[in-house]
């Protein structure tokens, strides 16, 4: 069994994040609050509710070393939360946006965070000691639509973004006084703040869920057209691979090693992609239980009725009767999975455990131990 814990925390979850030692989880139950649960004696207890946002919280990230939480919301604001005593104290970050903030992530060194927004911009925020506040610097250019996802390169300088205009872009986020010269390496060596390193134009529809591999050599992102893209040699002439798969589109991805990626999305079941010896990526299999394929419930509940209509009257009754509501897919998640996070053990770059959350309100922890056919890619 690959799913080792299934927790139904809410009706629906927009995003979640883990505390430094994975004993606490923060998530947004599809409203303006962030709930923090702690595991004590095998039971999850609600320990904090962070109430400051006015609208849905669209992004949460919890920094592992400095133990700070950053949240981004449709109310166009971000808060950085510090634990003082037993209380989480918010600090408002003025993003200067005129549209919703959609995603947020701490940089690897935890001295900056990036916020993607519906205002076609990315905010890079950093702490200013003398004024005791977080300053937001905007990358205004380039994006032709909402920024759906952001991902930091391990070098703390490069930032990859995906956008609803279908493109994936990589920017330099070098900030004087925050970043040091020696941290600049590779293609970002002499680029200023906001300079675009490369624009990847592979998808013809919305792009989501961008991530770097642990070394930062490979980039993966997904399109809303049931495609996943792998890019090597980021720079002036990147090498791209497009992988089409037979099921519904993905929303987010996670590198568990240099050669293996887990994709999650509308198919409600994590998909495993891996690169072979020659570096060619392909779909391997689903991670959850196999879907039972019988003639009646081929496409699950959402589709059977529509398909019945499409294929004519005679089949209509049959396909409707054969499908039970909602559970017919036989998976662990019952609805779109929109968030996947690593549960890293310190010092090990390969991720053996990860968690997913989705519109069904569950947070599921998965373990890749004892998966004989996958171990060669780890």
């Amino acid at each position: 069994m690959t799913a080792i814990a299934v927790n139904q925390f809410a009706q629906s979850i927009t995003c979640h994040a883990w505390g430094p030692d994975h004993s606490m989880v923060a998530f947004c139950p599809n409203n303006n609050e962030v709930h923090i649960y702690r595991l004590s004696q095998d039971k999850w207890e609600k320990v904090h509710v962070l109430e400051k946002h006015d609208q849905i919280v669209s992004g949460i990230d919890w920094s592992p070393r400095s133990n700070r939480i950053v949240t981004a919301s449709h109310d166009r604001n971000s808060y950085v939360w510090n634990l003082e005593g037993s209380e989480w104290v918010p600090t408002l970050v003025i993003l200067r946006l005129n549209r919703a903030a959609l995603c947020v992530q701490w940089s690897p060194k935890e001295n900056k965070f990036a916020v993607g927004s519906g205002a076609k911009t990315v905010c890079i925020c950093y702490y200013e000691q003398e004024n005791n506040w977080w300053v937001s610097k905007l990358i205004r250019k380039r994006h032709d639509s909402s920024v759906t996802s952001v991902a930091w390169h391990p070098n703390n300088i490069l930032l990859a973004t995906t956008s609803a205009d279908g493109k994936c872009r990589i920017f330099s986020t070098f900030i004087k006084g925050v970043d040091t010269k020696d941290s600049r390496t590779g293609p970002s060596s002499d680029s200023k703040f906001g300079e675009q390193i490369v624009q990847l134009d592979l998808s013809f529809s919305w792009a989501f869920g961008v991530k770097w591999s642990p070394s930062g050599d490979t980039l993966a992102y997904v399109g809303h057209n049931s495609m996943i893209y792998f890019v090597d040699e980021i720079g002036p002439s990147p090498l791209a691979q497009n992988v089409a798969f037979r099921d519904l589109p993905l929303r987010d991805v996670l590198f568990v090693s240099e050669r293996m990626v887990i994709g999650v999305g509308f198919d409600c079941n994590p998909m495993v992609f891996a690169a072979d010896q020659r570096g060619i990526w392909s779909f391997i299999r689903f991670l959850g239980e196999r879907k039972t394929i019988s003639s009646g419930s081929k496409y699950g509940s959402q589709f059977s009725e529509a398909f019945g209509k499409l294929y004519g009257q005679s089949k209509h009754g049959l396909s409707n009767d054969a499908v039970e509501p909602s559970r017919s897919r036989g998976g662990i998640h019952d609805n779109c999975i929109n968030c996947i996070l690593p549960l890293r053990r310190s010092g090990i770059s390969t991720v053996m455990r990860f968690s997913t959350s989705g519109l069904d309100g569950k947070v599921v922890i998965w373990d890749l131990e004892n998966q004989a056919d996958l171990s060669e890619y780890l």
Binding site: F204, S205, S226, A244, F245, R246, D247, K298, L310
Partner: protein
Amino acid sequence: MASTEGFVEADNAEAIITRIEHKSRKIESLLKQSKPVEALKTALEGSPPKTRDERCKSANWIVVHRALMAIKDVEGLLSSLDAEYYDILMKYLYRGLSTGDRPTCDQCLRIHEKLTERAGLGCILRCLADTVNTV
């Protein structure tokens, strides 16, 4: 709409039309030899999605349609058709369904059902999501 970079310009359209006419003759001869699957493959090869020229698209649709309607054994077709053709075939099935012509729609639905079983919902998604490379 003005053609953008990377799209075939109008004077290239004549060349495409000529190629399609040539393809059409080849398909007719394949159909006479009762090789409908080969005919459909030929029709799908070199389809001109990367042009905004509607004449080219229509001309190619006519040859694809001709080959499509000759298909009797759908299972046989799909097992001998390479997976790389699935996406482009799906696009033409939707074009066929959009005509509203009864026999065409019946045939397209028949193939659509079998193709979806084989190529999955992802194939439909790619076809619907792609608003740039239309057929």
